[in-house]
Symmetry: none
Subunit: 214 residues, 4 copies
């Protein structure tokens, strides 16, 4: 692996562990056993490292979320989707813990972030619309937008929220799966009978995952 990539990886790891504001560029270099000068040979500044991490995140995002618009979406698709979303949030969780501060400093990152968010929003809208037209969701069309925003907001706040609730607790996969369960719980009251069955099936799946982790 190239040094540049090693730096990105180490930074991500350390940021996730201790929070971006608590990790200095020297920490990153020391963690890799390279000199600070070398780090600055590959990156103009700390911001650029964060930028690169975000680019990687956006890349991961684009790989996992191919447009699903045309086809009929199944519960299995949703499962794959939720898995991916939460796994990405897990991989880049430091990001979610400091989003306002990080974005405020860096308008360019803001733009990129918004673009990514828009993609996500479209994805979710497409899925929900598909579920609705497929007779799984019993919800008025004008309420779709609101639902999509809620889901996005809950998903993207989940880790941060858990951090604030449990004093020094580590965020584990089980916590993420609980997030998925929570999201399914939001959708559940809005389903048709058929939809309810599928949601309950998904919930069972994630409950089993949580058991496995324990």
């Amino acid at each position: 692996m190239k040094t540049r990539d090693k730096i990105i990886l180490a930074a991500l790891e350390l940021f996730n562990e201790s929070g971006e504001p608590n990790i200095t560029t020297n920490h990153i270099a020391a963690h890799l056993g390279i000199s600070p000068g070398n780090l600055y040979y590959h990156f103009r500044n700390k911001e650029e490292i964060i930028h690169s991490i975000f680019d990687q995140y956006a890349h991961d995002l684009s790989i996992h979320f191919q447009p699903l618009e045309h086809q009929q979406i199944t519960a299995d698709d949703l499962l794959v989707y939720l898995d991916s979303v939460f796994m990405l949030m897990w991989r880049y969780r430091f990001f979610y813990a400091n989003l306002p501060d990080i974005l405020q400093r860096d308008p360019e990152l803001q733009q990129k972030y918004l673009a990514a968010q828009e993609g996500l929003h479209k994805d979710i809208m497409a899925m929900m619309a598909s579920f609705r037209s497929g007779g799984l969701l019993d919800i008025e069309e004008e309420e779709l937008e609101n639902l999509a925003t809620t889901l996005k907001l809950v998903a993207s706040s989940w880790i941060s929220y858990q951090t604030t609730q449990a004093p020094g607790a580590k965020i584990t996969k089980a916590v993420l799966y609980q997030g998925v369960l929570h999201i399914l719980g939001i959708v559940r009251p809005l389903t048709t009978a058929e939809g309810k069955a599928q949601v309950l099936q998904l919930k069972a799946h994630y409950r089993a995952q949580i058991e496995k982790e324990a």
Copy 2:
């Protein structure tokens, strides 16, 4: 006003404006035209200022949220409640933008925060239960908990979320009212016919508020 209170106020103002990590104790002192020594005469350290701001927040909270458990809760009660919640979140918005970091540093604050959260959760649960037993909400009992958490999470993430969505936009009251509207939108699909009428009425109220602000 006492200098101690002026410091709390100035800190709150500056934190809200620029984010707590970007405001130093010297900034606060300079903003007030006092010496750093004077600031440290009134507060042992920066943490204690944040602590005091939180105490004020908790105090405001306790004033606005008297237990409503015994009586039948009306839509007007909910309106008052939502108004208060969002107004408080507005007054102490820096807090919500950095919660994980702020709490991580200060275990004592964690405790206080959790206690306050518990109170909020009980309030929301009581209201939702009342709406349900009053025939306004059509939702299974075991889903109440999930709903309450969703509402709390959405409410407490709203400002932070908006900050990330709108590049450098100032958070205005209109933005807060949109948060209320969003929350009502979450509840709407779960209402009975009677409940729906009341929710729509509330939504109309808040849309009018937004118009006024514009």
Copy 3:
């Protein structure tokens, strides 16, 4: 007791406990429950407090050490003398722990200190000379000076020396009595047979004191 005197007393107490450089004027005021302003009403600055403590020390010294030059000095006189010396050193022990620094800052104090030292030196010289002429000490006259200096040096360094030897140990009276024993141990090899008897008697006395303290 007047405030001024209370300040001197409190300062002495705190200095002895924690070392003069570690005690601020605010500590002293807080300890007495008075305001810093009040403290500075009675003393121009911290130095003046130290000065006043020294004056008290010098005063104590002058009371305890009346010139003994004319009469024949007995072992009992020596006992009284040693008791007094070590008790004074105990009362003002912070002073001995920081002497070079304290005197360096304050030339006037230097002068006073030297004057006091001179008195002490004369006292010791007089005693030793008396012991010698009384046939208790077997020592050449030109060695008297050296002996007196040694005794003074050992006495005044004793507390400081013990502090450096025993990590965090409190200086107790027993430690002081050991200092006396040490001094007697210096004199012992220089005594005549008669002198030896008296020294041994004194040593027995102080050993008993140490037992009592334990």
Copy 4:
């Protein structure tokens, strides 16, 4: 010379000149014409600088004081020994002026200091025992311990004592040699005739040294 060593040297110099509590890390950096940041690149904090100075002192000590236990010790050995002791005390004199305070702050240094002291004590005991068995010292065995402690105490307090005696006087080599003379004066009355001759010879040597310096 490496910057790290320059810092140690400059700190030692300034500490000796003005007292450790009066020299800040900024003073040291300014004295060397380097930035405070650079100083902190080489040392974590001020304490670590003092630590390093002590390590150097301990190193010097170990070089100069090879165990002399096995052989018969001569007056020349003593001369070399005294020369070394006082030269070291001169090189690190700031240390001796603030020992109680410095050691109190830093328990690790305490340990190191005690270890060094123990070595010194053994050295002195070995020399005195050798002189005694060699028929130079006329002293009872149980008084050896007391004598060793006295010598150590007088030696280690000498500079500090002189500082308090002579107002603003610089500590010169002559002052150190007077310390040696004083120590010889303590031993003198305890010698046999043969020992006396050797002590007087040593004293003559040091008196000559003082003359040279003047």
